[in-house]
Point group: C2
Chain length 179, copies 2
């Protein structure tokens, strides 16, 4: 399972509570791997049994206690082992593609409206990613070693969104040409 490894990577960067991790999975890491807090707590429990992480309670003023997790040496070993195994190639999976394929059996105008909404969403996401790149990595030619991975992932996000937008444009053009 990749969620465990996503958590290990996140904890290797910085210790965190389940709540902190849930917020990270809403932002940075969450751009390519989503997880709900419920699932995170569940998996953290299993990971602690497996000794990949350990926790200690931290009391706070005016706030609930929190359980701060950190990665163990066994966790670091597992990360090393996992990184050396080839990643299975994930097949594409797109409900939108199914719908596009079946346009002739559906509401053509609604599908086109959907394409326009998706195009706008891709556009917004590109703007967001590019602002993020500008802010965190203004000089991509001289990145620190520990920044490279996150930067390349961001680049992957930008490329994917640009492609999504280009696809929407092609679909709109094809449908307009046909009219």
């Amino acid at each position: 399972m990749a969620l465990e490894h996503a958590i290990l990577v996140s904890l290797a960067e910085k210790t965190a509570s389940g709540y902190d991790l849930a917020r990270r999975f809403d932002a940075s890491i969450g751009h390519f791997w989503k997880a709900s807090h419920q699932q995170i707590y569940k998996v953290l429990g299993r990971m602690e049994s497996d000794k990949w992480v350990e926790s200690h309670l931290v009391a706070q003023d005016n706030r609930p206690d929190k359980k701060v997790y950190s990665i163990t040496n066994e966790g670091r070993d597992e990360l090393m082992r996992w990184s050396s195994v080839p990643t299975p190639i994930e097949p594409l999976r797109s409900e939108f593609a199914v719908k596009l394929r079946g346009t002739q059996f559906g509401d053509r105008e609604a599908v086109l409206a959907d394409v326009r909404v998706r195009r706008a969403a891709h556009e917004a996401q590109i703007a967001y990613y590019e602002a993020s790149a500008q802010r965190h990595y203004p000089e991509p030619a001289s990145l620190r070693e520990d920044e490279l991975g996150a930067y390349l992932v961001l680049r992957g996000g930008i490329l994917a969104e640009q492609t999504g937008m280009a696809w929407c444009d092609e679909i709109l053009q094809a449908f307009e040409a046909e009219r």
Copy 2:
């Protein structure tokens, strides 16, 4: 669930047995939505209870009987209804991105080897898709209405694979530059 609708689209094009559908999900439709035969039989059962499809047994010579499914009017109505509801935007989900992000905690050379394998896989997939496009849609400027959806989905596949390959190239370059 989209599998039900993928099956509806497939049956709207042509009646099929569970076995036939499983083969279609290994090829054309399967390029953007995978399903095992076990899952298909399970879902077909539910869809028949819901009256979206109906089946009749067909005896064959020298072969086992088969249950041929066809879409009902209710099934067509459902397809129309579904097509008019906006498709939820599927967030990216990539174990490979997690691994890339965590390269500093792993085996850098193994990750790079993985990138090269993935690049080759994208390249092969592009060749496959382009041959398919050439064979089925030699003249994209003049497509029949019932071909347009499948053609555009194929285009989406080509664009996605090209992007995947471009990303791999960027990763390889960045790691080589750093050395």
